[in-house]
């Protein structure tokens, strides 16, 4: 069993790729099979990722050499605590969305189920690949696999979604090109592409302009991909018009995996010493602060529910990047280093996943896109709306929800870094969150449909979504609370502390 786990990192990527092809083949003969193949594969991957996390926590990192080539020349897959943690999050949300999408896709894209699931598995392949790889060029290739399948999935609804997808494609490709150029710069000075090898070769070259330029190119390239504030313009349309499970994946996982790529590059390839040489993280903090406020303000002005959630994602990327920016200056347990950032990655995936899936449920049942149309839904779809309320109050930050915990930790971190402005920004943004989520909750529960008899009829007729869609939604909503309690009780904190210890971001006692 121990030796088998050594092969899991590459298997996770490979079985997903194989299932993408087998879905196409199986879909020819029988159109009913694709969802089951997809769910089974993602379930197997999820179990494998949990085994990997367990192995990494108890036995240490896994190194896999592709084709047996030694690391500086061959491609190496490295899984340490950080990868394994991100892998578990992404496969969990991937599984939830796969289960949810079965009925939803049959309804929304009846002609395209086969190609939808093939692309979905390719998307998962790309995401897993970015996460497990230890080679910087390999990371670029996987980012492109992930993005290309995301472009196609976003465009699958047709009409305005095509335009949104095209905008994302152009901007995303620019981002990827910057990333590739950064790799070229690093390669030209070091002659290596392996992350571990680079981290040994780079320290004497920290003063080199080429290395600094490469770091800036990485930041800009990945900022486009992760929709960091001034470069977020592709995000609202892409999230609003994609199929809902893809919106959930985009918002909960894709932009977060790009954040993971940034953290990996900043702390593993470069190091904390490099980051303190330049005021880059101070600038990052301030841009993130603007992102939080602007994202929340723009969310308030939206009429379309999914567009509102999309702008809220922009604000949440601001939270994560703010936490990353503070990570070098806050070193005290328990909010030290990357803990708040990684914590909010999981939390945001749970909350936004739930919210987008609920938005998808409204579209599935009654084709409702605008907030004003949601009148009286609290009575028609009680469980779905309850899930929405739980996730929404979690976004606002009511204890003991996950949103509360991450905000609390980021506030503590900024207090320790003596950057009090960010405490104010976080509090203001919670207030703004309250305003725009309350608007939705108020429409769902308080406002009646026009005409008294209508209200009466809707009171009596319950019209819930099918069980295979309801279970993922309710599961994510309840996890919003359960994970919050787990974080507060400190049960899952040690995982993140291992990451901090790995990058030297913790006070050693």
């Amino acid at each position: 069993m121990q030796t088998a786990i050594q092969h899991f990192p590459v298997l996770i990527v490979a079985i997903s790729l194989v299932s993408a092809i087998s879905i196409l083949v199986a879909g020819w003969t029988n159109k009913k099979t694709p969802p089951f193949i997809s769910i089974t594969t993602v379930l197997a991957q999820f179990v494998a990722s949990i085994l990997i996390l367990n192995h990494v926590l108890t036995k240490g990192p896994i190194h896999y050499w592709l084709g047996g080539w030694k690391p500086p020349w061959g491609i190496e897959y490295v899984v340490d605590v950080l990868n394994a943690y991100v892998l578990v999050i992404l496969l969990f949300l991937g599984l939830t969305c796969a289960v949810y999408s079965k009925r939803s896709i049959e309804h929304e894209l009846p002609q395209k189920t086969v190609s939808f699931y093939a692309l979905y598995q390719l998307l998962i392949t790309g995401l897993c690949g970015v996460t497990v790889t230890g080679d910087i060029f390999n990371m670029y290739v996987f980012i492109e696999i992930m993005s290309l399948s995301a472009y196609a999935l976003i465009g699958s609804r047709g009409k305005i979604a095509l335009k949104a997808s095209f905008t994302y494609l152009v901007l995303g490709s620019i981002g990827a090109c910057f990333f590739l150029l950064g790799i070229g710069f690093l390669y030209s000075v070091t002659g290596s592409l392996n992350m571990h090898d680079l981290s040994i070769l780079l320290p004497p070259l920290y003063g080199n302009k080429m290395v600094r330029a490469a770091f800036v190119l990485f930041i800009v390239g990945l900022s486009v991909k992760m929709a960091f504030f001034p470069l977020h313009t592709w995000l609202p349309d892409a999230h609003a018009f994609a199929p809902s499970e893809i919106s959930a994946m985009l918002s909960g996982i894709i932009i977060e995996v790009c954040t993971y790529a940034f953290i990996r590059l900043a702390f593993s390839v470069f190091s904390v010493n490099f980051l303190t040489l330049l005021p880059i993280f101070d600038i990052l903090c301030w841009v993130a602060g603007i992102a939080i406020i602007m994202g929340s303000l723009l969310a308030m002005t939206q009429f379309n529910l999914k567009r509102m959630l999309a702008y809220s994602s922009v604000a949440n990327m601001g939270y994560i990047m703010l936490a990353v920016g503070l990570s070098t200056s806050a070193k005290n347990f328990p909010w030290c280093g990357l803990t708040p950032a990684l914590m909010h990655m999981l939390n945001h995936a749970l909350m936004k996943g739930c919210l987008f899936l609920v938005a998808g449920a409204f579209i599935y049942k009654a084709d409702l896109w605008n907030i004003a149309e949601l009148r009286g839904l609290g009575r028609r779809m009680p469980y779905t709306c309850a899930a929405f309320v739980i996730a929404a109050i979690s976004m606002i930050g009511v204890p003991p929800s996950v949103g509360f915990v991450s905000k609390l930790y980021i506030i503590f971190a900024s207090l320790e870094a003596k950057k009090f402005a960010f405490v104010a920004i976080l509090l203001v943004s919670s207030l703004l969150n309250l305003v725009y989520f309350w608007r939705v909750i108020e429409t769902m529960y308080m406002k009646r449909e026009e005409g008294e008899e209508h209200a009466h009829a809707s009171m009596n007729s319950r019209d819930e979504i099918p069980l295979s869609m309801l279970i993922p939604v309710l599961g994510l909503a309840s996890l919003c609370m359960v994970m919050g309690v787990l974080w507060l009780a400190g049960i899952t904190i040690p995982i993140l502390n291992k990451v901090n210890a790995m990058f030297g971001l913790m006070v050693v006692r």
């Binding site: 060029f137 670029y140 290739v141 492109e144 290309l148 472009y151 196609a152 465009g155 047709g158 009409k159 305005i160 095509l162 335009k163 997808s165 095209f166 494609l169 152009v170 490709s173 620019i174 990827a176 090109c177 590739l180 150029l181 070229g184 390669y187 030209s188 592409l193």
Partner: protein, 127 residues
């Protein structure tokens, strides 16, 4: 003049790729026609490929095929790794172009135009 020779002529490969990169970038941002945007993207990507390829050049190097006899005669090889990377990157670029073109075809079927402004205008009318 000496500076000019050292910084521009001696490093002409970098300058060429920077100029191409900016041309491509300009086309992606400023052009209204979607196909022209994609051409801009291709120019941008090709500029980066040229940058990579020029990194691998060794003066007087031959094709990187390992042969004991030639090594003993003092032949040098160009660095093959950038070529391999760029082969992969070309595949990525081709598939990006393919996805982009198929999106444009679908948009043309939907809106009857490939001018970005007109598409935005028409989608606003449709709601």
């Amino acid at each position: 003049m000496e500076w000019f020779i050292e910084e521009v002529f001696a490093k002409y490969n970098y300058w060429i790729s920077i100029i191409l990169m900016l041309i491509g970038f300009y086309a992606m941002i400023a052009k209204d026609n979607l196909i022209k945007k994609i051409i801009g993207l291709n120019i941008f990507q090709t500029a980066i490929f040229l940058f990579f390829i020029s990194l691998g050049v060794v003066k007087g190097g031959t094709a990187p095929i390992v042969d004991e006899e030639m090594v003993s005669k003092g032949y040098v090889y160009v660095n093959p790794l950038p070529h391999v990377l760029i082969l992969t990157a070309i595949v990525v670029a081709v598939s990006t172009t393919a996805v982009a073109l198929s999106l444009i075809i679908r948009m043309y079927e939907e809106y009857g135009t490939i001018q970005e402004e007109e598409i935005i205008e028409k989608s606003r009318v449709k709601g």
